[in-house]
Symmetry: C2
């Protein structure tokens, strides 16, 4: 079909970091489209426009690629939330509200995004290294939330528990919002979460 140029390059070399990132993004797209069951080496290679061998060349296996994809996507989500917090100005409570509101925005509460989480969760129980990665990213996320809560006047000795509670409520709402988007709306989820924040913050005032 294609008229071959005198010397059309069959492929292009890429910086290892860029190629690695491209494979991660392709993995995320495949997970979003086909779910964890459809995320095979070949499907990801086709999605990235490379040969299957490259996946093995950059990652020790599918699990390592899924772990790297989770790390990447989780980082992107955290960055989106941080941006929403920063854009909320300097009022501590407004920043906290922005955090939970952004957590249910279409870009975050996305069923296709859930697929990455599920694929990662399915590895947590069996693989200690994956479990350690999960613990690390969870504690990082909780630390950011503890800071936001502290700015709102939550006592230091209550921050840990409050952050666990808020994370659980937001994650639970997020999960259900992804699994059955028609059950309740993102606005309702935000209202529920913000009302819960009221009870945490006004408690010791």
């Amino acid at each position: 079909m294609k008229a071959p140029s005198p010397h059309q390059p069959a492929f292009r070399r890429t910086h290892p970091d860029a190629r690695r990132l491209a494979l991660i993004e392709a993995c995320a797209r495949v997970l979003a489209r086909a779910g964890a069951a459809g995320a095979s080496v070949r499907a990801i290679a086709v999605e990235a426009g490379v040969s299957p061998g490259l996946v093995s060349h950059y990652f020790s296996g599918i699990e390592a690629l899924v772990a790297a994809t989770y790390e990447q996507v989780e980082g992107a989500v955290a960055a989106t939330l941080d941006r929403a917090v920063d854009e909320a100005g300097h009022d501590p409570r407004a920043r906290l509200d922005a955090f939970v509101t952004a957590s249910f925005a279409p870009a975050i509460a996305d069923p296709q995004l859930l697929a990455t989480w599920i694929a990662f969760w399915s590895l947590v129980t069996a693989r200690p290294a994956i479990a350690a990665q999960h613990d690390e990213q969870y504690s990082g996320s909780r630390a950011r939330l503890e800071a936001l809560l502290g700015d709102c006047g939550v006592a230091p000795n209550e921050q840990r528990r409050a952050a666990i509670a808020v994370t659980a409520l937001v994650d639970g709402l997020w999960l259900e919002l992804c699994l059955s988007p028609g059950c309740f709306s993102a606005e309702e989820a935000g209202d529920i979460a913000r009302r819960f924040l009221d009870t945490l913050i006004s408690k010791d005032r």
Copy 2:
């Protein structure tokens, strides 16, 4: 190895319902042990002590078996929670507390139990029938919670939202408790959830 009896039965016939249940229980054990990735037709057949062909004979495929397993396990969990509620006596608040406390008991907040949920969740997005099943079981669970909340004096027009909130908080805590059991304890999770119930119930009193 085995000295064959004059007529040792090579297999035993079973009531279709009993065999079906045995396959479901075998599926749950395989999911708990090997995760969603290891739940193959053959592995489940070995676990159940039957030949691989039987799985196809009773279920249209692996997905149908996973869906049936989720339904069965979810029903068992609901029954356990209902029993805990009943054993709590007649005081409405004590019944509600028993519900959340039992939700984090070792038998429920079990990493191996999470595997069944993850395997089921991984099918929700792609398969409309699975999504419908999830919606149905979620709304059933929420209805029971609404009744418990109503007995505690939550106004009818607030019951839906309160039940969504409690479900999300409990599920979020349960999920994290399963994923990293060392992060916080079941007692802490129960305390967080019960404290949240305080804010919902004492509100309009």
